[in-house]
């Protein structure tokens, strides 16, 4: 016997249809916008509503853009930095890539290959194509400009004045000698994890490949780091652990563990990205003693090339109004915005003219000025290719084999090069 009458069934049927419709509608893209506003969707890793220096700076920057462009609203989607890359790939594949998106320098090539970005050379005014610290050609491929550098960073030497004195070691050998002496505090620490965060090692390793005179890739994009010069770089980094200069646990160290090691003060020197300096000094109360310096050179007077990279801004292929999106990028990377940013957050400008500001001669701007000077003299950017993350892991594994299994440098370099070329 039925316990539900026909009317109830119709209501229930309607509810069912509505539920399914809601499920389907929930899968569709929806972007609420205030009526009358032209909206730019910006994918960011910084929360503009967050009460921290970077959040405050971004909020002020966006407010200034909206004030200068009445009727335009910037809608920020905040994503964890590690997720932006994958999210962009998926969104672009679904035809929903954002107007403006942050892309890490070594992720740009794969997004170019996947067709996720729009070329910028015709969208950015010619006058704004000048004044870049490393030139306009960075983040370019196939004759097109694909992203605008937003901030710069490089692996640097971290040291403590209360451990090893006020001056950093002048050369690599001097660093090794100090770190392996009787009064060593734990040696030289760098992240050598071969896992998902192998970038910590690759950042440093690229600098020393260049220092030895090696190149990462040849003109065809194939591995060139197994040259005699490259093998010397493998020998240099790979021998740190067997010689007792670097503790064995560094094999499992990612960026985070190196950072914690700085805070704990359990080494003499650390090789890590410059962008973590402010946080490391402030977090551990080491403002008076923690310092950074360019990576030590191979010989006195010969600086190690700075491997300069960082976050960039790009336009998604599905941007509603690419000209307006380019306008936002121009604003966010303008000299004024970058000057405010370095003063508020410590993020290093990518425009050369910013460094001419008197602020860089003050005590507050001294570290940024030192890095800018190094970048301008010896800074290089790398065209990373589509498989850079995989390459980072191959390098880490090769150097781990040298440290843990006694593999020789030539074989390690050759194996890594062969494995990389097989990916192409």
């Amino acid at each position: 016997m039925s316990i539900i009458n026909r009317t109830s069934r119709r209501v229930a049927f309607g509810v069912g249809v509505l539920t399914i419709s809601a499920l389907i509608a929930g899968c569709a893209n929806s972007s609420p916008a205030a009526q009358g506003d032209q909206v730019i969707e910006l994918w960011e890793l910084i929360n503009p509503d967050g009460d921290d220096p970077r959040g405050n700076d971004l909020r002020a920057n966006i407010d200034a853009f909206e004030k200068a462009n009445p009727g335009v609203k910037v809608e920020v989607t905040v994503l964890p930095w590690a997720n932006i890359d994958g999210q962009l790939m998926q969104a672009a594949n679904a035809g929903n890539s954002p107007d403006v998106v942050r892309v890490l320098a070594w992720d740009v090539p794969k997004h170019i290959a996947a067709g996720n970005l729009l070329p910028l050379e015709d969208l950015i005014p010619a006058a704004e194509q000048e004044d870049w610290l490393l030139g306009w050609d960075t983040l370019s491929a196939d004759g097109h400009k694909w992203a605008i550098p937003f901030e710069y960073r490089s692996p640097v030497l971290y040291y403590r004045t209360d451990y090893t004195g006020a001056e950093p070691p002048a050369t690599w050998d001097e660093m090794v000698t100090q770190a392996s002496g009787a009064d060593s505090n734990g040696g030289v620490v760098l992240g050598m994890s071969s896992g998902a965060q192998a970038a910590a090692l690759a950042e440093v390793f690229v600098s020393y490949l260049w220092a030895e005179g090696a190149e990462v890739f040849d003109d065809d994009g194939k591995a060139a780091f197994d040259s005699p010069e490259g093998i010397r770089a493998f020998e240099r980094i790979g021998s740190l652990m067997p010689e007792g200069v670097t503790p064995e646990e560094a094999v499992s160290y990612t960026y985070e563990e190196v950072f914690q090691s700085i805070s704990a003060g359990t080494a003499d020197f650390w090789l890590l990205g410059s962008h973590r300096f402010e946080a490391a000094a402030a977090g551990a109360g080491l403002e008076d003693t923690l310092r950074i310096a360019p990576l030590p050179g191979l010989t006195a007077g010969q600086a190690t090339p700075a491997h300069v990279f960082g976050w960039s801004l790009a336009i998604g292929k599905d941007a509603d109004d690419p000209d307006l999106a380019a306008k936002l990028i121009s604003h966010m990377t303008s000299a004024d915005s970058q000057l405010a940013r370095v003063q508020n957050t410590g993020e290093l400008p990518t425009r050369a003219s910013v460094y001419e500001d008197p602020w860089f001669t003050t005590e507050d701007g001294a570290t940024a000025a030192m890095l800018a000077d190094w970048f301008q003299r010896d800074g290089r950017s790398l065209d990373y290719g589509e498989h850079y993350i995989a390459l980072s892991q191959l390098w880490a594994e090769a150097l781990q084999r040298m440290a843990l299994e006694g593999l020789d440098a030539a074989t390690a370099a050759k194996q890594a090069a062969d494995a990389y070329n097989a990916l192409l």
């Binding site: 039925s2 539900i4 069934r9 229930a12 049927f13 069912g16 539920t19 399914i20 499920l23 899968c27 994958g86 790939m89 998926q90 594949n93 794969k110 290959a113 996947a114 734990g186 994890s193 071969s194 896992g195 998902a196 965060q197 192998a198 503790p247 064995e248 646990e249 560094a250 094999v251 499992s252 990612t254 985070e256 563990e257 914690q260 090691s261 704990a264 359990t266 080494a267 498989h387 993350i389 995989a390 880490a396 594994e397 781990q400 084999r401 843990l404």
Partner: protein, 320 residues
Amino acid sequence: MEPTMPTLLTEAPPEEAPVSAPARVNQPPRRSWSDRTFGFVLLSPAIALILLVAVVPIGLAIYFSLHATSYLEVRDFVGFENFQKMFADERFANSLGASLKYVLGSLVLAFGIALPLAASLVNGGKAISTIRAIIFLPWVISQVVTALLWVWILNPSFGPVAEILRSVGIAPIDALSSPSSAMVLLIVANVWASYPLATVLLLAAMQSVPDELYDAAAVDGCGPWKSFIHVTLPSIRSALGMTAINLTVYYFNMVTLIYTMTGGGPLRSTEVLSLRIYLEAFQNNQLASASAYGVIALLLNIAFAAAYIRVLRSSAEKGA
């Protein structure tokens, strides 16, 4: 003209012989079909959800695994080429081996802790709820936090364990940097986080064993150990099987803890199959390869599920 019989449509039925009920009884096929339809309507949201989150992804994974892909773009049909490449790649065997070590090691250790712990708590009296809540705490901590916690605790340079060991003159152990010991540490961290589930499931099963069985065993001269072997274990056989299979599937598909703790290193010694799938899909953007790995993982999961159903049926038949 002879009077016609009154019809249902034109005349009211006599009180003593209501015709409405028999008339409806004469429509069972329509009523039955309607009930079935209504049942489907009620089920449709759940069916839509299952289609959306389970069947469609599985179908897509199989589809992608049979095609060449460039990033997320599907290209030509290539048959089983992706599977051939996968089986020829030594990393597949490495990942499968790592998964087996991880799952079996975790199972043995989890049961080794959970079983005696549950047995010791079964007569916990009024404090049992409190004790159970305390035991359950590691289970509710996120895998990311668990991983970071263990990495920090065991760090030989600045971890608290190293400090304690150094204070008593023992050199700290650097477990995560060695391919042979990294997996052991990973299993320990995993079991620390997951043994509560096993303990609570087994404890619940042990509490449902009738006291009469223990009384009878005592009359027969069984001590606590013999009672545990001959009464408790046979009585909770079904729960043991279900817990084992649940944990196996859970361990086999785990990514977050391993990704955060070791990232698959050193030297890929902890790169289990589930992590390999994640890295292929979301780090290397190799959709076809990741899908091929995923299909194999799916088949293995189906095998686990089949074993699970078999255990349940076997227990039900024995209980009947």
